[in-house]
């Protein structure tokens, strides 16, 4: 029954609400009460904790007093001098506490029973769900022929002038994610009749997902809309919008940065780094707005994205560069950071290579670009990283690799994570625009957890190409003869280049006890996976860049056992990490190295502490400051004269 639910809502103030309904009201004393009654009973009946906000817009007929007299605990009346409908809704949104915010007209012209369909659309991933009288399936009752013709023409013109694709921009029944509404209304300036168009205009420019939900709708006979007069006003507002917002974000808000990266919940390489780099940058006072241009995901997975994440490019799509450039053109950031390794845009040569042209093109089209390069062609073992093939192909790939490294160096700036890379780019390519930006630790680490009672070896990553676990399992078999309790945890999934690899390994070694395969480790489970081990093993036969896993081992105070090769050795040398070493591909050597840590708690603690101290000394948020310093120089926002900025603009 909904009446008892209404009584409960009427009498008990809710400390937290998931839904706020904002009703703008101007001289509505004659018709608002039945509407509020319908809302109160219907919405309370859904069980959603909600609040009702009536935003009175300077009514002279006592609307505010009439509504204010209702003894409803979760109703608020906002009083304000007359500004127009947009101002009234804005004040309501500012006061709203809900995760979802609906604004609805005082005449219940869209029946409130349509609300669950809008809520479903937002919970399925839309940022904004707008009731649409035009979408397929919508039903209009009582709409006059004049209004039909006028609104049809307006729609076409609006789309042309603003890029807003919604068929029905004016329906007074729109549901927003709360943070989206607050952000859009903070930036919106129109107080009058066209305020919803402005919201949709800003939403379209931000690339937000706006879905139209067909709703039933009744055109109130005394509706305060004069089709002809209002159309003229509407057009003037459309033109004003273009002038107002046409030149990107207003300055003085701080930098607007875009980051092109693979992004969780997608599982492509560097996804976690992209997430954390974006987070620490967004937290900087100099940064006003972040736009993340991420890889597209199979259906449904994009639903949980924050509003500033745009899924615009696809792994192995040769058009990714174009899609990123278009998105940059729309978002107009002050600068763009590319979080890349050589195979970020694909594991097929053509799309991978074309994607690497994007930073150069972005710069050419006017967006200062910084490329953070996590590996170099020169240091990638093509065979083992999955780009192998016959020797001729490898040779061709190598020379193209040099070409595309040059293309990447055509970014305004290139950052790499290892001093050796900086040196190589400067010496081999004569690059002047390369700087060092160490990997950094994602979060300032908490004190490490105690070691587990059972000696546990963990390896972490995406397996199947240069990270392979066969030798590690052989080493584990050897360890079991020394301590039958020993456990091995293989944490992570197959690389996209080697689907089915781990399942094959699991079947092949089904006879070896005490092995756990965790599958893909979600971000929130990472701390537990590291804390539950005694030591982290790196069973690599090649490396492709600074090791995120070694930084994580440090963050959680765990030692490492690794081959003394390539970039891993660099990290040990340059940043002060500590590890036990083994001969690559040698199971006995690996078992011995692991045993030196497992058999001696003091050694495990010494390595773990050393790594934890290194990790604590360089959090990613500090590294982000290095970027900002370069970016401010690049975009001319640094205090004082800046020769580089002039050069960048030239």
């Amino acid at each position: 029954m909904s009446y008892p639910a209404f009584e409960q809502w009427r009498d008990v103030p809710l400390p937290r609400v998931t839904l706020s309904i904002v009703v703008p009201a101007y001289n509505e004393s004659e018709r608002i009460l039945p509407t509020l009654a319908a809302f109160a009973v219907a919405v309370s009946g859904t069980g959603e904790p909600w609040e009702l906000i009536v935003s009175d817009d300077g009514s002279r007929d006592g609307t505010a007093d009439l509504v204010g007299a209702l003894p409803w605990a979760n109703l608020r009346v906002l009083r304000h001098a007359n500004t127009g409908k947009g101002g009234a809704v804005r004040r309501g949104v500012r006061a709203a506490r809900g995760d979802l915010i609906l604004f609805a007209d005082a005449d219940n012209s869209t029946p409130i029973e349509e609300l669950p369909r809008l809520i479903a659309a937002v919970r399925a991933g839309a940022h904004v769900a707008i009731g649409s009288r035009a979408a397929e399936g919508a039903e209009e009752v009582g709409k006059s022929a004049v209004r039909r013709v006028v609104s049809g023409g307006l729609r076409r013109l609006t789309r042309l002038l603003t890029g807003v694709t919604a068929e029905d921009t004016q329906c007074g029944f729109k549901l927003f994610r709360g943070e989206v509404a607050r952000d859009l209304f903070r930036r919106g300036v129109l107080d009058g009749f066209s305020f919803d168009l402005e919201l949709l205009y800003l939403a379209a420019r931000d690339g937000l997902r706006v879905v139209e939900v067909p709703v039933r709708w009744v055109d109130a006979p005394d509706s305060k809309v004069d089709p002809v007069k209002d159309s003229v006003k509407f057009l003037k507002d459309v033109l004003m919008l273009r002038r107002l917002h046409g030149s990107g974000h207003p300055r003085g808000d701080g930098l607007h940065l875009a980051v092109v990266t693979a992004y969780p919940p997608g599982r492509r390489s560097l996804n976690e780094y992209g997430l954390h780099l974006s987070r620490v940058l967004a937290d900087k006072p100099e940064v006003g707005h972040m736009t993340i241009l991420a890889d597209r995901l199979p259906g449904g997975q994009e639903a949980g994205d924050a509003p500033n994440v745009r899924r615009v490019w696809d792994f192995n799509d040769p058009l990714s560069a174009l899609r990123v450039l278009l998105a940059l053109r729309r978002a107009r950031p002050d600068a763009v950071i590319f979080n890349l390794q050589m195979a970020s845009f694909g594991d097929r040569r053509v799309p991978a290579a074309l994607g690497l042209l994007t930073p150069m093109l972005a710069r050419a089209f006017g967006t200062p670009s910084v490329t953070l390069l996590h590996n170099l062609f020169e240091t990638v073992d093509l065979d083992r990283a999955g780009f192998g093939g016959n020797p001729l192909k490898v040779a061709v790939t190598r020379s193209f690799g040099r070409l595309f490294t040059r293309a990447l160096l055509a970014s305004n700036l290139v950052a790499t994570t290892l001093p050796r890379y900086v040196k190589l780019l400067r010496e081999e390519y004569g690059a002047q625009n390369v700087f060092l930006a160490p990997h950094g630790t994602f979060q300032l680490p908490l004190p490490p957890q105690p070691f587990p009672e059972v000696p546990t070896v963990m390896t972490f990553g995406k397996f199947g190409t240069y990270k392979r676990v066969e030798v590690l399992i052989e080493a584990h078999r050897a360890l079991l003869t020394r301590d039958p309790r020993a456990r091995l945890v293989i944490a992570g999934s197959d690389t996209p280049n080697a689907p089915g690899y781990l399942a094959g390994v699991q079947a092949q070694f089904a006879d070896v006890p005490n092995i756990t395969f965790t599958g893909y480790v979600a971000e929130e489970d990472v701390p537990r996976v590291f804390s539950d081990c005694t030591v982290v093993a790196f069973p690599y036969n090649a490396t492709t860049g600074s090791s995120g896993v070694l930084h994580q081992a440090g963050e959680f105070g765990r030692g490492a056992v690794m081959p003394n090769i390539g970039d891993l050795a660099d990290l040990i040398q340059d940043e002060g990490y500590r590890a036990e070493f083994f001969e690559p591909e040698d199971a006995q050597s690996l078992a011995d190295a692991l045993w030196r840590v497992l058999s001696d708690p003091r050694q495990a603690a010494a390595l773990g502490d050393a790594n934890w101290r290194v990790a604590s000394s360089l959090p990613l948020s500090d590294v982000a400051d290095w970027y900002l310093l370069h970016l401010e120089d690049l975009t001319g926002t640094a205090p004082g004269p800046s020769p580089r900025a002039q050069e960048a603009q030239a």
Binding site: Y3, L36, V41, L70, V141, V218, A220
Partner: protein
């Protein structure tokens, strides 16, 4: 919440002294003229069954008031039954619930 109709259906049963009106849908300004045409003239005993009415706006409420007053003036009996929660609340907060002949 099921999707409510945006129009009104009125089912009329009329005997010598009895008039029974079954309403379902939305009784708003668009629907009031049709509703009144079906209800008038009232009979000696009139029953308004609002069991299917999902929303009633101010015009709908005003139409009810008009029928009740017409019946009283003519010494006829009129009763309203099956008022749904949303409509009931609308009547309550407009002060009509206490004065309408709800049974």
């Amino acid at each position: 919440m099921t999707r409510p109709p945006t129009t009104l259906d009125v089912l009329v049963r009329r005997d010598a002294d009895d008039l029974h009106l079954s309403l379902s849908g939305r009784l708003d300004a668009h629907q009031v003229p049709g509703f009144l045409a079906a209800a008038e003239p009232l009979a000696a005993r009139t029953t308004l069954d609002l069991g299917g009415v999902t929303f009633m706006d101010s015009s709908g409420l005003a139409a009810l008031v008009r029928l009740v007053r017409t019946a009283r003036a003519a010494g006829q009996d009129l009763g309203i039954v099956n008022v749904q929660d949303g409509v009931r609340l609308a009547m309550e907060i407009t002060g009509l619930y206490a004065v309408l002949p709800i049974r």
